[in-house]
Amino acid sequence: MKHVKTLNTKTYASRAIGSGCGECQASCQSACKTSCTVGNQRCERRVDENTTKKNQNTGK
C-alpha cells in the first residue's frame, strides 16, 4: 500500500478466543511494581510454542 503501512500482522481478535489461560506473568511482577502496563508483556503460550518449534528444528 502507498498510503498505509501496518506495523503488526496480528490483531487482538485473532488471539481472543480460547485465551486467558493465566499462565503469563502478572504485569506488576515485571519491572515496575508501581505503574501498571500490559502492552509489553509476553504471551506464555506463544513462548511455549516458539520453544517447542525451536526444539523440533534443532532435533531436541
Partner: protein
C-alpha cells in the same frame, strides 16, 4: 475507536479494538479526521472538497486503502466480545509478592512503604511463614502451572537466609505439584555480596535493582539510615551482578520525582554505565509532597520522554540498543485480549503476603486493614474484597472503556487509584496521561525503526 497522533515524525492511527497500528501518509492521516464508520466502498464526494489541497488521485488511493483496512476489521473495528472478565479473575491465585522484610537500611524520601516499616513495626518474615505462604499459593493456584513469587521488602536481603530457604522449599513444591515457580527479587543493592549475587543469578528469573540514576539524584533520594548516599556502594555490586548474570533478565529500576524531571538524563546515565535494561518511573505521592508529579509538570515530562525516544532510536540504529521498560511493545506476540482487559490482577490472581502472614491485594496495600483479604494460616479469603478487585477491569470501568490506550495499559494501578483519587476504580489521571504519552512514543519508535 481510532486514535490518531503524530510523534517523532510519523502519522499514526491505532485501531483500539483490533490492536492494528497503521503508519499513514499525510493525506490518509488527514482523511481519518473526516470519516466515520460505517464506511462505504465509494468515497464520499465531500472528501474531495475537504482534502482539496491534496492531489485528487492520491485522495482516491488513500480512501481505497483505508476502506480495505475497514473491510479487514483493522479500522473502526467492533469491540472484542470478552464476556465477564470478573469471573476469569476471581478463581485462582498465581502470583505473590512476598514481603520477607518489613525493614530497610535505606531511608528513601519517596518510600510508599514507610521506609520498610509499612505503617507498622519493623519485622522480618519467618521461615515458617514463608513456607506456608508457598503452600497457600500452590493450594490456590488451581490448574495454572506457572507461578510467581517476588521477594520484596523493605529490603529482602536483610532476611537473606529465609529467602534462600523459601526458594529451596519452592523447588521441592515445584517437583511435587508439577508447577513452575518463577522467583524474582527486588533489592536496593546495598547488601549484595558474592554469595547473594550467585544465589540470585542461579535462582531468580528476574532481579530488579533499585537506583535512581545520576549520583546526585540517587544520593539525595536514596540515602542510608545515616544520611550518606548509596550510589557508590551499589554501583560496583550491580555491575558485578549483571556481569555474572549473562543473558539472565534484570532491570535497573529508578523513580523520578519533581526534583529530576530531566529523568531521560538519568536513564541514559544508567545505560552509559553498562546497564542495558532500565526502568525509570514517575513517583506516586500526594500532591502536597515536594516530590510529587503535578499536572503542570506533564508537558516537561512528555518532552523528556520524546528526548529519550529519539536517543532510543538513534542508539538502536547505531547498533547500540538498550531497553527502556515503558518503550517495549510487542505488536505481534503480546498478551491475549483477556489478559489486556484484566490488567494487573491485584487482589485476585495477584496478592501480597506480609511478615505476619496477612494477605493484601498487592504490595501497595500492605498494612491497610480495610484491604486485608485474609491470612495464609487459615487460608480463609474475604471474598467481598476480592470481588471488588475482580471488577477492576476494562470492561466494567467506564473511564477505561472509552480510552484508546486501554489494551496497552490494562486499566492501570488500583493502588495508585485509591491513594491518589480515593477509589480503586477511579483512574489516577496523571498516570493515565503519562501512560498514553508513553504508548504513543513506544508505537512511534516502532514506526521509526520500521522505516
Amino acid at each position: 475507536m481510532v486514535h490518531t497522533f503524530r510523534r517523532l515524525g510519523s502519522n499514526i492511527a491505532v485501531d483500539t479494538e483490533s490492536g492494528a497500528v497503521h503508519v499513514l501518509s499525510p493525506v490518509a492521516y488527514k482523511m481519518l479526521s473526516y470519516i466515520k464508520p460505517p464506511l462505504t466502498q465509494d468515497m464520499p464526494v465531500s472528501l474531495r472538497y475537504s482534502l482539496a489541497k491534496y492531489d485528487s488521485s492520491g485522495v482516491e488511493e488513500a480512501y481505497e486503502e483505508l476502506y480495505s483496512l475497514y473491510e479487514r476489521g483493522e479500522l473502526f473495528s467492533d469491540a472484542i466480545p470478552l464476556g465477564d472478565i470478573s469471573k476469569a479473575l476471581s478463581t485462582r491465585i498465581k502470583s505473590m509478592c512476598l514481603h520477607v522484610s518489613h525493614d530497610c537500611n535505606m531511608r528513601c524520601r519517596y518510600c510508599f512503604a514507610d521506609c520498610g516499616g509499612y505503617v507498622r513495626e519493623r519485622t522480618l518474615m519467618s521461615q515458617k511463614t514463608g513456607k506456608r505462604a508457598l503452600d497457600f499459593l500452590i493450594e490456590k493456584s488451581g490448574g495454572v502451572r506457572n507461578l510467581e513469587v517476588d521477594f520484596f521488602g523493605g529490603e529482602p536481603l536483610l532476611n537473606f537466609d529465609v529467602v534462600r530457604e523459601i526458594t529451596r522449599y519452592g523447588r521441592e513444591l515445584e517437583a511435587k505439584h508439577g508447577k513452575n515457580i518463577r522467583f524474582t527479587l527486588t533489592t536496593n543493592g546495598s547488601l549484595l555480596d558474592d554469595e547473594s549475587i550467585d544465589f540470585i543469578n542461579a535462582e531468580m528469573s528476574n532481579v530488579v535493582l533499585s537506583i535512581d540514576g545520576r549520583q546526585q539524584v540517587n544520593d539525595y533520594m536514596r540515602p542510608f539510615e545515616d544520611g550518606s548516599g548509596s550510589y557508590e556502594t551499589i554501583i560496583p555490586k550491580y555491575k558485578k551482578l549483571v556481569e555474572r548474570r549473562g543473558d539472565g533478565e534484570y532491570y535497573v529500576r529508578g523513580t523520578f520525582t519533581r526534583r529530576n524531571l530531566d529523568f531521560a538524563t538519568d536513564v541514559l546515565h544508567l545505560v552509559d554505565l553498562g546497564f542495558s535494561a532500565v526502568s525509570v518511573e514517575p513517583v506516586v505521592l500526594p500532591q502536597e509532597s515536594e516530590y510529587s508529579i503535578r499536572k503542570e509538570d506533564l508537558p516537561v515530562i512528555i518532552a523528556e520522554y520524546e528526548k529519550l525516544a529519539l536517543e532510543y532510536i538513534a542508539r538502536a540504529k547505531a547498533g547500540r540498543p538498550f531497553t527502556f521498560f515503558h518503550f517495549i511493545i510487542d505488536l505481534d506476540g503480546g498478551p491475549c485480549a483477556i489478559k489486556r482487559a484484566k490488567g494487573c490482577g491485584s487482589g485476585c490472581e495477584y496478592v501480597a503476603v506480609t511478615p505476619d502472614g496477612s494477605i493484601y491485594p498487592c504490595h501497595q496495600f500492605a498494612g491497610e486493614e480495610k484491604f486485608k483479604i485474609g491470612n495464609i494460616f487459615d487460608g480463609v479469603i474475604d471474598e467481598n474484597i476480592r470481588n471488588t478487585f475482580a471488577h477492576c477491569n476494562l470492561i466494567e470501568n467506564p473511564t477505561c472503556a472509552d480510552c484508546w490506550a486501554k489494551y496497552y495499559c490494562g486499566g492501570g494501578c488500583a493502588a495508585n487509584n485509591f491513594h491518589m483519587e480515593g477509589d480503586i476504580m477511579k483512574p489516577y489521571s496523571i498516570a493515565c496521561e503519562l501512560e498514553r504519552a508513553r504508548v504513543e512514543f513506544a508505537l512511534a519508535i516502532k514506526a521509526a525503526l520500521a522505516k
